[in-house]
């Protein structure tokens, strides 16, 4: 009553043939994979070594500002409404305590004595002429008066009232004045008015404040941008 007789042929007799076929397919697939991986590896090995990033070397551009230097500033959304910032004499003030107690035309309730201020650069802001279309009527209104602004030398180009806490400085490239330039993206966190993260794009090639662009992230996807450019003249 044995269930299988030894003399009976085994039911799976053709299996080795099928198995042999599958094994050949697997071996072939693995050979193809190995070949592809081999080509990728050789390609990786032969790839030229990439250029290392330039060494980090941030130089405070405001320390190089000269009296009379000028830059134009406008919001990215209204480029026709621009202002000029012109460095006023005496230029970079490293030792306010040795200077005058008053800055002509400037006052601030928190800083009644200018000798106790942070080291600064003072600039006059004036409206740039409105870029009108050809044939438009000439504006005969008198130009508005210059308004002084103080830029602390550690403020990365933000005025005294708008200073924030430095978060980080990262090298970056930016297109400015039609050229791609190497510069630094300075992350600042502001508190109070216009609170939140700001990014200031600086280069030692940009005059006055060293700023090429300012960006304020008001919220997700809501970015406000100010652009700087060198005008032909500030007169």
């Amino acid at each position: 009553m044995s269930p299988a007789r030894p003399s009976q042929p085994v039911a799976a007799a053709p299996a080795p043939r099928v198995s042999g076929g599958v094994e050949r397919v697997v071996a072939l697939a693995l050979a193809v994979m190995a070949a592809v991986l081999g080509v990728v590896y050789v390609d990786l090995v032969r790839a030229p070594a990439p250029e290392p990033p330039p060494p980090f070397d941030f130089v405070n551009p405001m320390l190089s500002a000269h009296v009379g230097e000028c830059v134009e500033l406008s919001a990215a959304t209204t480029p026709e409404l621009a202002s000029w910032l012109v460095v006023r004499s005496p230029g970079v003030v490293l030792r306010p305590h040795r200077g005058d107690a008053k800055i002509a035309g400037w006052s601030h309730p928190r800083y009644p004595d200018a000798r106790t201020l942070l080291p600064y650069l003072v600039c006059d802001a004036r409206s740039a002429p409105v870029r009108k279309k050809p044939g438009a009527a000439v504006d005969t209104a008198p130009p508005p008066r210059d308004e002084p602004y103080l830029f602390p030398l550690n403020g990365f180009g933000l005025p005294l009232e708008a200073m924030g806490v430095l978060s980080d400085i990262a090298p970056t490239t930016i297109t400015w004045g039609g050229q791609t330039r190497k510069g630094y993206a300075v992350g600042i966190r502001r508190y109070g008015q216009l609170e939140g993260p700001w990014v200031l794009y600086l280069s030692k090639d940009a005059p006055v404040l060293g700023t090429m662009k300012r960006s304020y992230l008001r919220g997700p996807g809501d970015e406000q941008v100010w652009l700087f450019r060198v005008p032909e003249s500030c007169r």
């Binding site: 094994e23 060494p55 980090f56 941030f58 080291p119 430095l166 980080d168 508190y191």
Partner: protein, 192 residues
């Protein structure tokens, strides 16, 4: 046939490992350095302390974080810091104003070494240049940041200050600074 499959498996795995190990070409080399200013005083916590030896043992200066307000809708961030100078014998040098409020917006990254005077902000060091650097620290090379500054409180011929930062050093993140012919070196921190 099975031996061949096994061999091919080994080859495929080895090649995959080699490719993964090699990574994207130059990924590490092209990763730019970022100066991590928010990891210095801004991430200090109450109770943190740091001690600096002045020159080769002319005394020490110690900074302790008493309170830390990281800022927000209530206002900008500020830290309450106690500074104590000790002479060669370890005796505390009496100071008029040992505890001061470090307002991060106005005072920035650097410590105040003198008693606070009302609104005497012209003692804040001005950043001139920031570079990567490597110094010997406890006999080993240590990658850090070299920040060159100007101290407006000093005369122009003495105004240069050099500060070395490392984000793991407590309180200000400062390893060492050189100012007016004196060297201040951290003695309370060791790299892990």
């Amino acid at each position: 046939m099975r031996a061949l499959i096994l061999l091919e498996c080994v080859v495929v795995l080895a090649l995959a490992g080699l490719i993964l190990g090699k990574g994207v070409p130059g990924q590490a080399a092209t990763q730019p350095d970022v100066f991590p200013a928010s990891r210095f005083l801004m991430d200090a916590t109450p109770g943190e302390r740091v001690v600096y030896r002045i020159d080769q043992g002319d005394g020490t200066v110690e900074f302790n974080v008493v309170q830390m307000d990281r800022g927000g809708p209530q206002g900008p961030p500020k830290a309450t810091i106690t500074r104590s100078f000790r002479d060669q014998a370890g005796v505390t040098v009496a100071e008029n104003d040992p505890t001061y409020e470090h307002r991060l917006v106005e005072h920035g990254l650097f410590p105040f070494l003198a008693p606070a005077e009302a609104r005497a902000l012209d003692r804040v060091w001005v950043i001139r240049r920031i570079k990567r650097d490597e110094i010997r620290w406890l006999g080993r090379p240590l990658r850090c940041w070299r920040v060159e500054c100007i101290d407006p409180a000093l005369d122009p011929e003495q105004e240069a200050v050099v500060v070395w930062f490392h984000e793991d050093v407590p309180v200000y993140g400062i390893l060492r600074w050189e100012r007016a012919g004196h060297v201040y070196e951290c003695t309370s921190w060791r790299p892990s």
